[in-house]
Subunit: 436 residues, 2 copies
């Protein structure tokens, strides 16, 4: 398969295109045959597959066709990374391609963007047996159609009254099975110990054994007591993940009980539903990352986690819980920092979202997170590290605050722990002496 | 890593479990260490990660824990199928595991099911570096909470007045760029030639250059004319894919103009939004398969296409467009037939959905589809095979009907084409003599 004269219509000089009319995409793909021809076919499949009527002299490619603006071969003549190979015996080439696609085809709509950019066109294109959408850049006019986070990092900080440190979330554990009363008591203990935002596990939403309304009521009362007792502002992060048509009512329940924020498993509910909720919601909305891994984990296939993070911010999440650092979550550290950047880096006029990398963290994870992220604009979200602490969730929460005090004072955690038993017990339970 | 006494609580004899309380799942996974321990951890991560409070004598596993009910090693001591390997240098074992998970944890809700079954728990479980959800079986009481297809195969047949043959859909091409007037004229020609349901491409929805309202209006008028001219019932399948909060209004537009059916790119919009639309919609709702490939194509990772098909039927789709047979769509034939079975096989009291395998089909594809599917309960959905026909869409549509006549008469297509010029031209344009 090689480049035909017809394919030439799917190439352009990026500088010559009207930038406001295009979404700029980067894909990595593995193909057989001529990579330029594969890239041209990809553009064709993504847009105007048949670009003129039979017997007519017309060309829809100029206005409606995606265009290759750059192609780089990363690795030539390797065997397929797909097992079994779809094109057995052929030479396979790994490429990175820059494509500009005109948004006149899909508008400022999330489902139509997904269809155009990672739908049938991209994933069923001839010659290409593996493809990953790895980067995206949107024009400012298109971005302006999106509200993005209502509160963002600054809004969360202002509402919580936390100016300059990471936000301490924590997943109440046991995550599944506890009656609401026992569950709320654990959250209360964690608030007293210094947790800002105890939260529902992503698997605990509105269930018969723990109805959302009952949790919201109990936690609303205890939250107020915890604020009174500590003099700090406190939230409970209620997991309102449910069928689309219940999201707004669940949000209102959380608001009525003064819980402070709601969580939605964004990809499981659908990002368009999140955008709908965002228009309705007064509370900050927090994402959990279910379904990110099946779409993003394969290195040469699917959709990059950082792109999914950008889409979540676009949909309006104020904070985004992400697979965190270390081997536990099977996410390379570079991917975690890329996701954090996708939350915080400029994106038109959309507010930054708070990145919350999570996965088996505890007090000892804090110095490493600070070093890797290079900012205090993040949240951490231990589960066992707070609620599995040998002295209970109050001590577990306290261990986080003590870790932060140590960091602020420039004292190694192991040293600070000598005078701080909660941190000392955390170190004994969850780690050796931390690296920092 | 090997099995601990604690892990034993995540095993059960399937026969001893109350079947109505559990969703039964099959996964294939690749793990390091003891596969039984990996399966136990998977169950734990999917449900009650920490199954008792610190210092309490309690056990949430009995009621809330997922349980391994069977494990089969498929391939021992092979190197990882993941590139790069997450656990380099270790022995990798490929397994198939049967797991029963209690739906008390998530209820009859699609987003919560997805979270519990293919969320963080399944895709971030220790020891397991690749996992695919390959099969599912729901208890009847849980299924009864879902409406499923409102019309299904029988309802579509009744409304179209087509008792015993495949339904002929067709994607109007050029798919992107045509003004609504020209677009509608192509659909009209195809109706006259014998197409039942011309349709929007999945990439064409509500756009500035072709507003949905304008297409609906034009096609509504022409549809009536086509019915009058042919004496057959005709639909136009309007692609109402859009942000969630516009779906119902778009459906009503299609209904107002008598178009007959609407299409939604199900995974791009989110299956929960489809369930919402299903409750509102009077018209049959048809799925398009965008985002299925990134979730399902990797053999040992993600979610099987047939599972995604079952979920689409659960959400309420009356017909499901699927990647079709042959090399073009990079879907193995066995996967296409499995998807068709997921549409048609018993699923509680839910109606069957019409499978519509698609991808570069034309008149000559019909005998092969009939043979592979073993039923006439399917739709075919050519694009170029109708709208790229050298004599235009009317002849393109006619070529499908002629192919069906040939099949009914038991005459090979090439022979039948001698007296049928539309079929003859299709054979010259799109294929050699078909295999049948």
């Amino acid at each position: 398969v090689s480049l035909t004269p017809e394919d030439r219509g799917f190439f352009a000089d990026a500088g010559a295109l009207p930038r406001e009319d295009y979404v700029f995409l980067t894909y990595r793909f593995e193909c057989v045959g001529d990579p330029d021809a594969a890239a041209a076919h990809l553009c064709r499949e993504m847009t105007t597959a048949q670009w003129r009527r039979v017997g007519r002299d017309e060309d829809f490619r100029v206005r409606h066709g995606a265009k290759v603006t750059g192609l780089r071969v990363l690795d030539e003549s390797r065997r397929s990374r797909m097992d079994p190979p779809w094109y057995p015996g052929e030479k396979h080439t790994l490429c990175e391609v820059a494509i500009a696609t005109p948004h006149v085809n899909f508008g400022a709509r999330i489902p139509n963007l997904l269809t155009a950019v990672c739908g049938e066109g991209a994933f069923h294109s001839p010659q290409i047996n593996a493809i990953k959408w790895v980067d995206v850049s949107f024009p400012s006019g298109w971005l302006a159609e999106f509200d993005g986070p209502r509160h963002g990092v600054a809004g969360i900080r202002e509402r919580l009254g936390i100016a300059d440190r990471p936000i301490f979330f924590g997943v109440v554990k046991p995550n599944v099975g506890l009656p609401p009363e026992d569950f709320a008591e654990l959250a209360y203990q964690a608030w007293l110990g210094g947790l800002d935002v105890p939260k529902d596990d992503e698997m605990l939403a509105d269930t018969a054994y723990s109805p959302l309304a009952r949790r919201a009521e109990l936690l609303g009362g205890l939250r107020q007591r915890a604020e009174d007792a500590t003099g700090e502002r406190k939230w409970f992060l209620l997991n309102i993940t449910d069928e689309v048509d219940r999201l707004c009512a669940h949000h209102d329940l959380a608001e009525r009980h003064g819980l402070g924020a709601v969580m939605v498993n964004g990809l499981a509910v659908g990002l368009s539903a999140v955008r709908m909720l965002r228009r309705h919601a007064s509370l900050p909305v927090v994402a959990h990352f279910d379904l990110m891994a099946p779409l993003s984990r394969i290195p040469h296939f699917g959709i990059a986690a950082s792109v999914l993070t950008t889409l979540q911010r676009l949909a309006g999440f104020d904070a985004i819980i992400l697979p965190g650092f270390g081997p536990r979550m099977q996410s390379p550290d570079a991917e975690v920092t890329a996701n954090a950047r996708a939350c915080l880096d400029p994106l038109g006029k959309l507010r930054p979202a708070l990145p919350v990398p999570g996965g088996s963290d505890w007090a000892g994870s804090l110095p490493g997170m600070l070093a890797r992220l290079g900012t205090t604009d993040f949240g951490m979200v231990p589960g066992r590290g707070v609620f599995g602490h040998p002295d209970g969730p109050r001590a577990g929460a306290l261990s986080l605050r003590e870790a932060w005090q140590a960091v602020q004072a420039g004292i190694p955690l192991a040293e600070y722990a000598r005078e701080h038993p909660a941190l000392a017990a955390a170190i004994r339970a969850f780690g050796g002496p931390p690296a920092a």
